[in-house]
């Protein structure tokens, strides 16, 4: 297979958006695309034309049983996911929003105090007490946020071809049991691809989270325990993820 360059990219882009490149050629095309993000918009536009074909088949009605089967799985997974979704980030977010609320409440109370000072001198002391309580609450919450941030200390850096291109990725342990992958400066991936995290124990890779790189950095919870893992890796997979890795890792850390 000849090396990917601009001429070859032009030659293959139509087959690419139709999903008609063999695996190796597709990977080579995508690596070139990742290294030339300025071409992404052109591929997105061409991909939109190709994806119109999806609207064209004669309409078929899925069975009601299919809906029942899908919803059965979804409803069984909904509650555990909601619990998992309340990650450390969410809790930190809660702290911050409670802090904001408390600050807002304190500000309102101060304004209230000024008015009541004129009208109801007798109640001023009570209100000041409330303001102090609110301020103490803010201090407590700030302490909890600082504790949470301090516990984000165990990190493992991932290496690999994307790291060589300037991406940084770390596995961070939050509060001892929450594990997230923090990634920055990642190359963009095509519309129909996604980054997938794998926790590998022995030679068995377990799908452990999906994320779409963006310019601002991402933090993705790792959904499997890494306690007995040998390797954590990131691959580029078809949108929605894969059961098994279908491409070589772009980031990797041996534990």
């Amino acid at each position: 297979m000849s090396e990917m360059n601009n001429e070859r990219f032009e030659d293959l882009k139509d087959a690419y958006v139709l999903g008609a490149l063999p695996e190796e050629e597709r990977r080579s095309f995508e690596n070139y695309l990742a290294a030339h993000p300025e071409r992404q918009a052109e591929i997105d536009e061409l991909g939109a034309v190709a994806s119109l074909l999806a609207f064209s088949p004669q309409e078929q009605e899925p069975s009601p049983e299919l809906r029942s089967r899908v919803m059965e799985v979804v409803e069984a997974e909904a509650e555990p996911r909601r619990v998992r979704g309340r990650s450390t980030f969410a809790r930190v977010g809660d702290f911050l929003s409670v802090r904001s609320l408390a600050l807002g409440a304190a500000a309102l109370l101060v304004i209230g105090l000024l008015s009541w000072n004129v009208l109801l001198q007798g109640q001023v002391q009570d209100l000041q007490g409330q303001v102090e309580d609110a301020q103490n609450q803010v201090k407590n919450l700030q302490g909890q946020v600082a504790d949470a941030q301090a516990q984000q200390s165990k990190t493992i850096e991932l290496k690999g071809s994307w790291a060589e291109q300037g991406a940084t990725a770390e596995v961070a342990s939050m509060q001892g049991n929450e594990i997230v992958l923090v990634a920055r400066n990642m190359p963009s991936v095509p519309e129909d691809r996604t980054c997938q995290i794998w926790v590998i124990k022995g030679d068995v890779p377990e799908p452990s989270g999906l994320f779409q790189p963006d310019g601002n950095g991402t933090a993705t919870p790792i959904t499997n325990s890494i306690k007995k893992a040998d390797v954590i890796a990131v691959t580029v997979e078809p949108a929605g993820g894969s059961e098994q890795p279908t491409s070589d890792p772009v980031l990797l850390a041996e534990l």
Binding site: A20, S51, Q60, L66, M71, G85, G240
Partner: protein
């Protein structure tokens, strides 16, 4: 229908996806009801029989449920995203199995058709579908055939070249011209390509 369920009906797909990301099963059910028919139709066109098509549709919607955070609005509509998942998973499945259907298509591939494609012959329901149908009808049959073999049947350009006994350059050229003609159809009507 419960009041909450009725409220979901007025939400845009993008709002529903945000709720799905937060594990809201009812928001997911609304998305399923909106797009399962289009997804199943595409799956059926690719797989050719009901059971495999239902399995593919189920697989794709569970990917939507579990991977809602990977949706990016700037890259297209939720509907297009869902269909792209069906398409990608379908291609993977078709390529991972020696399909009897492929053998059948191999026999049919060289036979001329009386119409550009029987798949596009039926009157389609919504305007987008109608526009796409019209755009595809502007394609010469030899271009349409190659787009269909690639997109719906998962053949690579090299396999299409072998199947139709055409030079690889011709296959690539017809792919390029076919896609260009679809885009030109919308541009000539001052319409954006639907995304």
């Amino acid at each position: 229908m419960p009041e909450r369920g009725r409220q979901y009906l007025i939400l845009a797909d993008e709002d529903l996806i945000s709720l799905v990301e937060a594990a809201d099963a009812e928001a997911f059910a609304t998305l399923y009801d909106r797009h399962s028919r289009a997804a199943f139709s595409l799956a059926y066109r690719m797989m050719g029989e009901r059971q495999a098509s239902e399995d593919l549709t189920q697989d794709a919607f569970l990917k939507v449920w579990r991977g809602a955070s990977s949706y990016r609005a700037e890259r297209g509509s939720v509907r297009t995203w869902i269909l792209s998942i069906v398409h990608n998973r379908g291609i993977d499945q078709i390529r991972s199995q020696a399909s009897r259907r492929r053998t059948q298509e191999k026999i049919e591939a060289s036979a001329p058709r009386s119409q550009p494609s029987e798949a596009f012959a039926e009157t389609l329901r919504n305007s987008q579908r109608e526009q796409v149908r019209e755009a595809l009808n502007t394609l010469p049959p030899e271009q349409l055939k190659i787009l269909e073999l690639a997109y719906f049947s998962g053949y690579t350009h090299v396999e299409i070249s072998d199947l139709l006994r055409l030079p690889l350059g011709t296959v690539k050229g017809r792919m390029r011209l076919g896609l260009k003609k679809i885009r030109d159809y919308f541009e000539s009507r001052d319409a954006a390509v639907p995304r």
